[in-house]
């Protein structure tokens, strides 16, 4: 989160991608949420030294990016920004796990490097899955799907409120923060005192806004529930989407396809070298 404006711009952009109209966009949000959950759990269930078997899982993000016509560069940039944070703990692995696991020619690779690479690969896969889920579904629909999958109603309503006022409050915070930066001549922070009164003012403003909003909603007959357009149902396309991806994930989980390809290719070259 470099600047508040930049972060919110990214946020909005990601949410707006969900306005697309492709076969993936049209699917019921529940199917997409479930497939992404299965995807994440499957990827994460690999062993700590597993590397090659995870690579085919990129099939899912690649397929969704193409089928849903998402900007691949934007998604990749968003993912690339986050991976270092996930890898921060994995980077200690090479220090502590020095047992040699494999040889690449004369170079010995320790288990620590393998598991570190494995963590980075997992991070790339899981983060991509979460980002494309929002990009093809949209936040409101994800919340709705979660509610229909059993999330408690107050949390769902709270999430929708939050999403609605996030932009308003982030704008307020960005204005206040910029005003402070201008007065501080480029210093990013200004100590805890000014921060506290700034945050306090933002808090009171938000609180009063919440009360006004709620009164206005009550005046218009708000009964405590959001009425959402719920046109989509869980039909045959959703079922086949869910089952086919889940099936594919299971196949990829239990067979190491890259290793198989590699063996076939190296065996072919080897045979070519030995036989003539």
């Amino acid at each position: 989160m470099a600047t508040i404006e930049g972060a919110m711009l990214d946020f909005r952009q990601l949410d707006q991608l969900a306005a697309g109209d492709t076969s993936i966009h049209r699917l019921d949000a529940r199917a997409k949420v479930l497939v992404v959950l299965v995807f994440i759990v499957t990827v994460v269930s690999f062993g700590r030294y597993e590397l090659s078997a995870m690579v085919p899982f990129f099939l899912f993000p690649v397929a969704v990016v193409v089928l849903a016509d998402l900007p691949a560069g934007f998604i990749a940039r968003k993912v690339a920004l986050v991976i270092p944070f996930a890898a921060a703990i994995g980077i200690f692995n090479p220090l502590f796990d020095r047992e040699i696991q494999l040889y690449l020619g004369s170079v010995a690779v320790s288990g620590g490097w393998l598991s570190c690479a494995s963590i980075v690969l997992r991070a790339a896969l899981t983060v991509t899955a979460a980002v494309i889920l929002v990009a093809v579904t949209g936040f409101t629909a994800v919340c709705e799907a979660l509610e229909r999958l059993g999330m408690p109603h107050p949390l769902a309503v709270q999430l929708l409120f939050m999403h609605r006022y996030l932009f308003v409050l982030a704008d307020a915070a960005a204005r206040a923060s910029r005003a402070r930066e201008l007065r501080a001549f480029g210093t990013r922070g200004m100590g805890i005192g000014p921060f506290a009164s700034m945050a306090g003012h933002l808090l009171l403003k938000s609180w009063e806004r919440a009360e006004r909003i709620h009164m206005a909603m009550l005046a218009r007959g708000f009964q405590g529930t959001f009425h959402l357009q719920r046109s989509s149902g869980f039909g045959l396309p959703e079922l086949s989407f869910l089952l086919s991806w889940t099936g594919l994930f299971m196949i990829l989980r239990f067979t190491n396809i890259p290793l198989g390809i590699g063996h076939a290719v190296t065996a072919f070259f080897n045979a070519g070298r030995l036989v003539p």
Binding site: I4, L37, I40, G47, S52, V55, P56, A63, V66, D69, F85, I89, G90, F92, N93, F96, Y103, G111, S115, I119, V120, T126, V127, A130, H153, P154, Q158, F161, M162, H163, Y165, L166, V168, L169, A172, A173, A174, T187, G191, I192, P194, A196, A199, G200, L203, L204, S206, W207, A210, H214, M217, G224, F254, T255, P258, L259, I261, G262, H263, T266
Partner: protein, 342 residues
């Protein structure tokens, strides 16, 4: 302090999901019975506030670096634990989905570390005791700072345990602990000072808001159940630590956890599942006759042939990965072209 999916195993993620889902469901049920209807919109807007406030940095005195507010404790003080947990959960869901801070599987861990701990362990058991009935002044600040430090010690401790049980990081327990706890002691102190400053600001400006979190009708709003849950969590954590100190053997650790948590039925199929998967993985991918094995080498146990085997396997793995990636990129590009022309 966000945990990423990449560092969580399905077992740990699933257990923490269950724990956090229970806490969220309990809080939701409590709020449904709440007569004060302003709560839910207020929670939404407060979630948005916390989100916005986390984006504003403040400088940390004497270090030249800047930090931002965590806010779990602040919301618990202002909204009460149930509403605060839902607001924090909302913030975490948005962060997981839009900013990839944490992830969907790690969401349970993150809700527990940053929501359940401040709202259900620290707020009722420490803050309320220290602050008393009508908190104000130095006593209020003291209570806030102590609670924030405690929150930011328990949270990272939970992160350490969750990472350790997931088994993806090779960091030894004590090293990881020494890495996390002192850093978070400083962060907790700063968070405490900031939270205390905001709370006193609100107290001066709108003192009546400060009691929104205090249930007015029922003075004892924390039934025995909360205490029992808290002690259960503490017992699980202590069990984990004690067994870790007692033995480095991960099996002993698992044994202790299942004993303390009493979830032997839950763990057992998981272990079988894991070993079964491992076995399957082995038979599927490390068939010895796939590797470069020279027929001349009769003794398969000799180090040279083992090295040759692993070399063959790893070479095959790398070649295969390259080809798979190439195929994926080609396939994607091709599909894109087909879609564009269609």
């Amino acid at each position: 302090m966000h945990m990423a999916d990449a560092l969580v195993s399905p077992a740990v993620g699933g257990v923490m999901w269950a724990v956090s889902a229970g806490a969220v469901a309990y809080s939701s049920a409590q709020l449904r019975t709440d007569t004060d209807e302003r709560r839910i919109p207020l929670m939404g807007v407060m979630g948005a506030f916390l989100f916005a406030a986390q984006m504003i940095n403040f400088s940390i005195p004497g270090t030249g670096s800047s930090g931002h507010l965590g806010g779990g404790l602040l919301l618990a003080i202002l909204l009460g634990p149930h509403a605060a947990l839902l607001a924090i959960t909302g913030v975490l869901i948005v962060q997981a989905l839009f900013f990839a801070d944490g992830g969907l599987l790690a969401l349970g861990c993150n809700i527990f570390n940053m929501g359940v701990i401040p709202a259900f362990l620290v707020y009722p058991l420490v803050y309320k005791k220290l602050a008393g009935q009508r908190p104000a002044g130095t006593r209020l600040s003291f209570a806030v700072i102590v609670s924030a430090v405690l929150t930011l010690q328990l949270g990272p401790f939970a992160v350490v345990l969750e990472t350790l049980f997931s088994g993806l990081s090779a960091l030894p327990f004590s090293t990881f602990l020494l890495l996390m706890q002192p850093v978070h002691l400083a962060i907790g102190l700063v968070e405490g000072v900031v939270t205390a400053a905001i709370v006193s600001f609100v107290y001066l400006a709108r003192p009546e808001l400060m009691h929104a979190g205090l249930p007015s009708a029922a003075p004892v709003a924390y039934p025995l159940r909360n205490l029992v849950v808290g002690f259960l969590c503490a017992a699980i954590l202590t069990g984990g630590v004690v067994s870790l100190i007692a033995s480095k053997d991960p099996d002993g650790l698992e044994w202790a956890i299942t004993r303390v948590a009493g979830t032997a039925e839950l763990k057992a199929p998981d272990n079988r599942w894991h070993t079964w998967l491992a076995g399957l993985q082995e038979t599927a991918s490390f068939l010895p006759d796939y590797a470069f094995k020279h027929p001349a080498v009769a003794e398969p146990q000799s180090p040279a042939s083992r090295a040759a085997e692993t070399a063959g396997t790893s070479l095959a793995g790398i070649v295969g990965v390259m080809i798979t990636l190439l195929l994926l990129m080609l396939g994607g590009a091709l599909l894109k072209r087909v879609r564009a022309t269609a």
